[in-house]
Symmetry: C2
Subunit: 443 residues, 2 copies
């Protein structure tokens, strides 16, 4: 951190900081009419409004204070870059469990803009420890920058890259777990992709990101990264997970299984939710609390360094969301344009209008794999209940039970590239994407 | 109800009923090893398993009893069709508020299969009162069967029919409110359609349906219909609403504003949820409890019988959900195929990959209205935050704030058919579809 880093502040905020002679990294005491706050002056969050100063409290929690409310700023201690380099030295002597951290352009706690190019190519362990000092007490981290991309720009070929990089790290046998930092926009798609591509994993692979809202400058980046790392080290179970802020409290990180998680809010820190299942674990106070009531079946951690990697994806899959006024020609177009699979987001228990039947029949007859999910998001497709569902089954539409449409889209891309009988694979649960307690309807 | 109605029972259930000489409609006492239940024998629910007998308790709640557990069935009183006809006579002398009930093929409490043709063309008030006797104490109901269709088969032209029928009833000036029974699959789309098509309504128009799960024979049809009717009579506010089972308890119906509600579960009775706002009211114990914390602004009820009806829809609108591997050609296809508007369901704050930019630019340049919503469902699109969003704004993509994609799709169909400047209309909140407390970003 540069000594006189303006930290992204501008306007009234920057003026105030200059006036009081403080820079990002300094320990400060900020007084308003009714409060006094001590902590380290942080860079301005990209999503925060211009008129807030952000301070990191001793608890690790960041708060924003409105510029207009600030009566005085006192510098308690100058921020010294030298102090930042100390952490890794401490840890390296400790023989801590090793974690590989693969960065794809997502959230790293030391950045202002965690979403993008803000991730420096030379990201170092020391920078990490400086941002999240607690990390150094838990793990020895090997960071590697694989990609530096907004997650909405990630494509199936990036999933392949990430999967291969993870497999490479796993096979060294020297890591207790892998953490993959990722933009939140499509993190759940990548989590599903890794779940299918990397089967029989010996260790946990944990995706992590950060959400942040303009009205709450407090960031979840540090908490999430710490939670992901602790789960990666301490979990008795292997597999692909997403670790993000839990909904119920500000000190817990929820670990979701990679195929059953969805980003359900544009900005809230607890945006990621497990769908139809309980998150597999909470990480709180440095400990992993497995959630007994989760229906997810997990495999135990192993130490053999083996993984079945099938990392190719075929992106000729169309995801079509049905709605009244939906044009059946859209199905005809997808079938005619060379898509090998169509994932329908139907209504309710898995329906589309009868007007779509001829186009669907034509697609199925042409060898396109047509699957049904529900736009309700929660609950499961049940196509043996009503005429519409039974007709669709008769046409050859495959019901995907409680698989969410995002996971289904990814799975179809994976199955097309790796399975001899992709249609059959779509109906089997291979990575907890379908609840095992629910009988799968036959197409 | 026919005297010897098998009520949809078959197999072991039918055998048991025949053996004990009881028919649907009879008052019965059913004993199992550990319980004794008295009530009226109900028809078997379509979604219920074969091996349950359904009994309506005095409380109005229906329960299912497993055939295998039943030790004896005692007939307490024969069901008499004559008793059913009494209710309307009682009510007609009472000068109760008048409600028009328009059936579109959705749930009516007297049916086994509420979703479909089960709605008889000759649906009568007496049948209604027989099914939900409490209705007779609240309202004098004029039922009319307009449609008899699975809701997934309803199209924009049906919205026009329904809107015109509602407007006709409103203009008679004799109704306290209108109740529209509807299949649940697309009820929220129709609710949005009526919200845009029928502005400046003097009375409440309340859509109602029923969800039912195979493992819970207890139906929400009666509770929902009663709740919808009470809200239609007693609400101080006018507008379009959806009344369905509330999540928190089994005796409350939640009233959602028509543009902000979504079916969020395939089968649960509390599947319908207001998105980003609190439901406007709960109906409990025959009373309407307005929810103070709801952000929705409602107009007061009037007695003038006037309504601004603009009931046409143009279905040349494509709803496209973005995902990694999404093919920009899908946008080009939609633009080329004559769609006048494209509603994007982007990721996070409203993003699609940069690979889509050229196709989007071409669509915008060709005069297609391209709007952005978020597949997160909750939260709002914010496109001034990141490069991707700013680039999309630059291209001319219209950010729709917290409008849900379903309402946005319907609104685009309505705006294209009724507004001089559809693009401008998309950015204004005309039926609470955008939270008024949130500034709308400029495209």
């Amino acid at each position: 951190m540069a000594k006189h880093d303006s930290g992204g502040y501008r306007g009234a905020g920057l003026e105030l900081l200059s006036k009081h002679g403080v820079s990002v990294g300094d320990s400060v005491k900020i007084a308003t009419e009714d409060s006094e706050t001590s902590g380290v002056l942080m860079p301005r969050y990209e999503l925060a409004s211009d008129d807030h100063i952000v301070v990191k409290l001793k608890s690790g929690y960041n708060i924003g204070i409105q510029v207009g409310r600030i009566k005085s700023i006192t510098k308690l201690q100058k921020g010294e870059p030298a102090t930042i380099a100390k952490a890794p030295e401490i840890t390296e002597g400790k023989n801590l469990p090793k974690i590989a951290l693969i960065s794809t352009g997502g959230t790293i706690a030391s950045k202002i803009d965690y979403r993008t190019g803000g991730v420096r190519a030379a990201l170092s362990a020391s920078e990490l420890y400086a941002s999240v000092p607690e990390l150094a007490t838990h793990a020895s981290i090997d960071p590697e920058v694989l990609l530096s991309e907004y997650s909405e720009n990630l494509k199936p070929e990036h999933w392949t890259m990430i999967a291969e990089k993870v497999a490479e790290k796993v096979r060294t046998g020297k890591y207790s777990g892998i953490v993959v930092s990722h933009g939140t926009d499509t993190m759940h798609y990548t989590a599903a992709a890794l779940s299918f591509a990397l089967q029989n994993l010996p260790i946990p692979v944990v995706l992590v990101g950060a959400q942040r809202s303009s009205d709450r400058p407090s960031s979840d980046a540090a908490l999430n990264l710490l939670g992901a790392t602790i789960f990666a080290i301490k979990s008795e179970y292997a597999g692909v997970f997403v670790a993000m802020h839990a909904g119920t409290s500000d000190d817990a990180v929820a670990c979701h299984v990679g195929t059953r998680v969805r980003k359900n809010h544009t900005s809230r820190r607890d945006a990621f939710e497990s769908i139809d299942v309980t998150p597999v674990a909470l990480v709180r106070n440095g400990a992993v609390e497995m959630q007994e009531k989760s229906e997810i079946k997990l495999a135990k951690r192993r130490s053999d360094g083996n993984v079945d990697a099938k990392t190719k994806f075929d992106d000729r899959v169309a995801l079509l969301k049905y709605h009244p006024g939906f044009d059946p020609k859209m199905i005809a177009h997808a079938a005619g344009a060379g898509y090998k699979a169509i994932i329908l987001e139907g209504t309710g228990l898995g329906h589309v209008s009868k007007e779509c039947f001829p186009a669907l029949q034509k697609a199925v007859d042409a060898g396109v794999i047509v699957c049904m999910t529900s736009q309700c998001i929660w609950g499961r497709v049940r196509m043996t209940v009503y005429d519409t569902g039974r007709d669709l089954l008769g046409i050859g539409v495959i019901p995907l039970s409680d698989m969410i449409s995002e996971a289904a889209t990814v799975k179809a891309m994976w199955a097309l590239a790796n399975a001899k009988d992709a249609k059959k694979v779509m109906q089997e649960s291979i990575a907890n994407e379908i609840s095992s307690s629910i009988p799968i309807e036959k197409a």
